[in-house]
């Protein structure tokens, strides 16, 4: 009943009704009727009651629940009032020993009417007749009693006299009291009088009732007989409560209910709603063929495997060629039953009557049952991935020729390890420097030393000038850069070189701590030009030329000013480009096409724009200690090698993180070099090996560079933990020259 208006009524109607409700409620309040939230239901109830002329109220639990809760709350309020009354009454009858809390009524016979009547004792109508009659000696009021804790009194009486604190025994007295006085356990401490007072029988009864979870009121009777106030004979309400005409809905059946019901009826007629069948039918088990009825929601199970048909060799009298030879029989007997190609041996009997009983009958039936039982219902797709197919498709090294693959010749420095080498731009000469200060100039092809310079101290770096109209190379020793010319130059080149390095008219000297000293005579023997770096700058670790051959950058091993100096040959001027730089500079490089400058510190590679003098990019290779770096001739790719064996390939167009990290060496990487023309690069390591990679860079920006490891060249010995210290490619040829700690410089040819 309650659900019906909630479901079907449109909003408008409901609003209207709510308005009505409000009106009615207001009216109800005015006439002081019982407040009920569901006025309308009450009405309808009553209507239905009327309709069903003798309905029971208890038949409508929904409505009862709502109204009950209201009633209960009201009752509770009443209860509390009663309790208050009780309290006061209890205190009245304090002295009484009986358990009656209310004033005791007496039934007497009235003098006037002669009928029995209950007479209550007179109540003194004084000021607080309904409150406690016991005099509280202290009149301090409702204040915290601990204010009087330190005082001898506990308050003041009505006359303003001190009420002295009653004498309080010590713990022993308390204990003795509990022993002596049998009623001491029924006493409680009274804060107002500051002493223990015995509890009355009524108070004890309340405590007991509370303990038992009962109603604390002794007089409360949960089973009082009901008093019919409004119902029953002679109590019918004749006059309507409201003078408003009765609404139609009181007697018209609900249109919306009808629609709702008809909808259900239609659904039942059309069979969309089917009542649940009687459950008794399900209790009987039915047998059905599990193979016949495929469940619709999954792929049909595979048909049961068919037994194999017998072949010729299973015949009782097979042709001779099917009979096993003695070897085959022995082999069959020796193999495991699982590994046997077939589980029988052909046997020949001349007549069917000679065929013995089939000895494997039970076994075969059992296997067939197993087959049926364990036949896989699901076609299991085994993930059979060939591990090789997961590897990236790399072209075979053979198709990427040429690359160096054998040691063509060996040049030996007898005294010390070869620290550095450089190859002339025409690819014909190699200058190699060792740690005893000897620089040898030798042919790439023959390996014949043509000239030797002895500089006295360890050679840290050698770099050939990339210009083709002059021919010289620079070698760095302790705090000095030596410019050396090879012999047998053509006159044009010779004069050009001399005028470049030792011009007749020197440009004006600039203020610098770096001295340029040209030696005019004895050019054949010694260096034509010496740059003296500042003191304590240490050994130049690296030299690198700008591609135009005018600027030379040197990296010294000392930490002052980063150890980086830029030398300009034409102006004979040196400067330190960085006033301060974070970390020790490992290598520097000029960008091949742009005015950019790479600086590799211990962990990062920074790219500076020299023209605008600002930092462009910081590459983070994730290497603990960078050892070497080289830039691709296109200028868009950088490789960085570290002492922690990692080689990182950076695409400058992409990210500051490496595009690829290769870790193929087993020891620290010492040197890297890109081939100027071929798509090759080489890395050398302290494990004594050189690795050759094919590195094809596409001009198409969408295609990633192709890096293919090609060849590991082994030929250097590891000496004192040092392997191949430097590798350099020969210009125009796919040849590699490597300098090793074993004192050998090797030429690797394709």
């Amino acid at each position: 009943m309650m659900a019906v208006p909630g479901l079907g009524k449109p909003l408008k109607k409901r609003k209207q009704e709510e308005l009505e409700d409000v009106e009615k409620r207001a009216f109800a309040e005015v006439v002081d009727l019982e407040m009920q939230s569901e006025e309308e239901e009450e009405d309808e109830e009553r209507g239905s009651d009327i309709l069903s002329d003798d309905g029971e109220v208890d038949d409508f639990p929904e409505i009862d629940a709502a109204s009950d809760s209201d009633e209960e709350s009201e009752e509770e309020e009443d209860d509390t009032d009663d309790l208050d009354e009780e309290d006061t009454l209890e205190e009245d009858s304090d002295a009484d020993s009986d358990l009656h809390i209310f004033p005791k009524s007496k039934v007497v016979v009235s003098d006037i009417t002669g009928q029995k009547k209950t007479v209550y004792p007179e109540i003194e109508p004084d000021y607080d007749s309904d409150s406690s009659t016991e005099e509280d000696p202290s009149r301090t009021g409702n204040i915290p009693m601990h204010w009087y804790d330190d005082l001898p009194h506990i308050g003041y009486d009505i006359n303003g006299k001190r009420v002295l604190r009653p004498a309080k025994g010590d713990e022993l007295d308390k204990f003795l009291a509990t022993v002596d006085d049998p009623t001491s356990w029924t006493t409680a401490f009274d804060k107002n009088t500051q002493m223990d007072k015995p509890l009355s029988a009524e108070e004890l009864d309340i405590i007991r009732r509370l303990q038992a979870g009962e109603n604390p009121d002794a007089e409360y009777d949960p089973y009082e007989p009901t008093i019919e106030w409004f119902t029953g004979k002679g109590k019918e309400e004749v006059m309507p409560i409201s003078s408003a005409p009765e609404p139609k809905r009181r007697w018209l059946p609900s249109k919306w209910e009808k629609q709702k019901i008809m909808k259900i009826v239609r659904a039942i007629r059309q069979g969309r709603i089917v009542g649940s069948k009687p459950t008794a039918a399900d209790k009987k088990h039915q047998f059905y063929a599990i193979w016949n009825e495929p469940p619709s929601n999954q792929p049909p199970p595979l048909p049961a495997p068919k037994p194999k048909l017998p072949t010729n060799s299973e015949s009782y009298n097979p042709p001779e060629e099917y009979l096993p030879t003695e070897e085959e029989r022995k082999q069959w007997e020796n193999t495991e039953p699982e590994d046997r190609e077939r589980d029988y041996l052909p046997q020949k009997y001349s007549a069917l009557r000679l065929v013995p009983a089939f000895d494997k009958f039970i076994k075969q039936r059992f296997n067939r049952q197993l087959d049926l039982y364990l036949a896989p219902r699901i076609q299991r797709i085994k993930l059979n991935v060939d591990p090789n197919s997961l590897l990236p498709k790399l072209p075979s090294p053979g198709s990427l020729r040429p690359f160096p693959n054998y040691k063509s010749l060996k040049f030996t420095h007898t005294k010390a390890r070869v620290r550095c080498l450089s190859i002339s731009p025409d690819g014909a000469w190699v200058a190699s420097g060792d740690e005893s200060g000897v620089i040898s100039l030798w042919e790439v092809n023959v390996g014949r030393e043509v000239k030797r310079w002895t500089l006295g101290s360890k050679v840290g770096a050698i770099e050939w000038c990339p210009r083709l109209d002059v021919c010289f190379f620079v070698a760095g020793t302790e705090e000095k850069l030596h410019f050396l010319m090879p012999p047998n130059l053509s006159p044009a080149v010779l004069t050009m070189t001399q005028s470049t390095l030792a011009p007749a008219t020197l440009p004006p000297a600039t203020q610098s701590s770096i001295k340029w000293i040209s030696s005019s005579g004895a050019v054949e023997e010694g260096p034509i030009l010496v740059i003296e770096l500042p003191g304590a700058s240490g050994l130049p670790r690296q030299l690198t030329w700008h591609r135009k051959g005018d600027y030379l950058a040197s990296v010294s091993s000392s930490e002052t000013q980063g150890g980086v100096w830029m030398h300009q040959i034409s102006r004979r001027h040196s400067q330190a480009p960085f006033t301060k730089i974070k970390g020790a500079v490992q290598m520097v490089l000029f960008h091949p096409t742009k005015p950019h400058f790479f600086v590799a510190t211990q962990r990062y590679v920074r790219l500076y724009n020299l023209a605008e003098q600002k930092l462009l990019k910081t590459l983070m290779p994730g290497i603990q200690w960078i050892s070497s770096m080289d830039i691709h001739p296109s200028g868009d790719h950088v490789i960085v090698g570290g002492y922690d064996r990692k080689l990182c390939w950076f695409d400058l167009e992409l990210s500051e993180k490496p595009y690829k990290v290769l870790r193929y060496h087993t020891r620290a990487i010492r040197s890297l070099h890109f081939h100027p023309t071929y798509p090759l690069f080489a890395s050398s390591s302290d494990d004594g090996s050189i690795q050759i990679f094919h590195a094809r860079v596409y001009s198409d920006l969408m295609t990633d560079p192709l890096i293919v490891p090609l060849k590991i060249l082994r030929g250097h010995d590891v000496k004192d933990g040092l392997g191949v210290l430097q590798v350099k490619w020969v210009n125009k040829q796919p040849w590699l020259v490597s300098a090793g700690a074993d004192g050998n410089a090797l030429v690797w040819c394709s």
Binding site: P402, S408, D426, P487, S490, P734
Partner: protein, 413 residues
Amino acid sequence: MASTSSSTVRSHPVVFTTQTPYVLPSQKFMIPLDWKRYQLSQLINKALDLSKPVPFDFLVRGEILRTTLLEWRAAKGVGEEDTLEIEYFESVIPPQRMSDIPHEDWMSSVSYRIPQHFVTASYDGHLRLFDYSQNPVIDTSVHQAPITSVCVVPSSSSDTESRILASSSHDLTACLTRIYLSPEGPSASTVASLHLHTSPLSCVSSDASGSHLLTSSWDGLIGKKRRKTAPVNIKRKVPIAVLKSHTAPVSKALFATGLHAKGKAYSCGFDSTVRTWDVESGVCVNTVNVPERPMLDLAQTPDGNVLLAASTDRTVSIFDLRVSNSSLSSSTGFMMHPATPSCIATSESGKQQVVTGAYDGVARLWDLRSTKGAVTSFRVWDGMKVLAVDWAGDVVSIGGEGGVEVWRIAGGS
């Protein structure tokens, strides 16, 4: 199978041919399949009834027989019925070291074109002349820089006492040196220096008549010079033509020999090409591009049929000029070496044999008919490079890191 049942040795039909004077009658032989070279050689010796045994080597289908016939047949898949044609020739007796002439410096070139004398060119810039008994006859300092090659310029005159030597050097010049081998005292004098190049020269060579020289250099130029007779004082000479087509250093240039070779020259270089030149006009007639094979040396057989080029990828390429007389297009064969071959020498007498020297210090004798492997190899030095070989008569002179050695190769056809 044949070894297990010796009674039924299978045999194979064979016909023997030869170009040597030891000719067998042309008939079909049934040769047992387990025979090797030794048995075949004995067969021929016995059949010809030679008084002094001559060892022979056998060529089966262009390949020297080194195994039994059966193994060879199995490897080649030749049917049992096919008649094999086996060519035989006198086998090369293992070369013997005759003498060695130690040098202080490396030898870059050696020549044995003056009778009874060796000419050596050294990296210390000296030309030296030795006689047979290893006595230095002439030691003259021609260049201040290393000499890269030397050649003896043939002279048409019958003057046996004076010879012209042409040498090329790192000092960008080539020099002509006249030597006198007069009994009273040999002497040498520089005749002319040839100037053209701006890079070190790699080789100098002369034509058969000795009237023209070719110099090749690292700057990619080839100069052609006329040798004037009897100049009195040292003259600077300029080339009469510059052959300019190579894009990388030229390693060798030489005049063509043979019948159809009039006015032709060949050159090779680091740009992996072998070029044919018309010397008169100075035009490159033909270019053979062998990809990624920088050439180190070039040689031609005396009959002018085969051109050989050593390259840094450890091969010696064979260019057969007979295939197409006018223009070669690609190499027709390879000789694979275990180390970089640096020099090639062809024999004057034998047409099919070649000596190559390599950086592993081994000189190898090859037969052009069988390029699978060397006929014989002889270790000259251990771990020292061979830089030059020359072969005249039965003497092979080998120069390199350890000086000069002279070996005798006997036999061969």
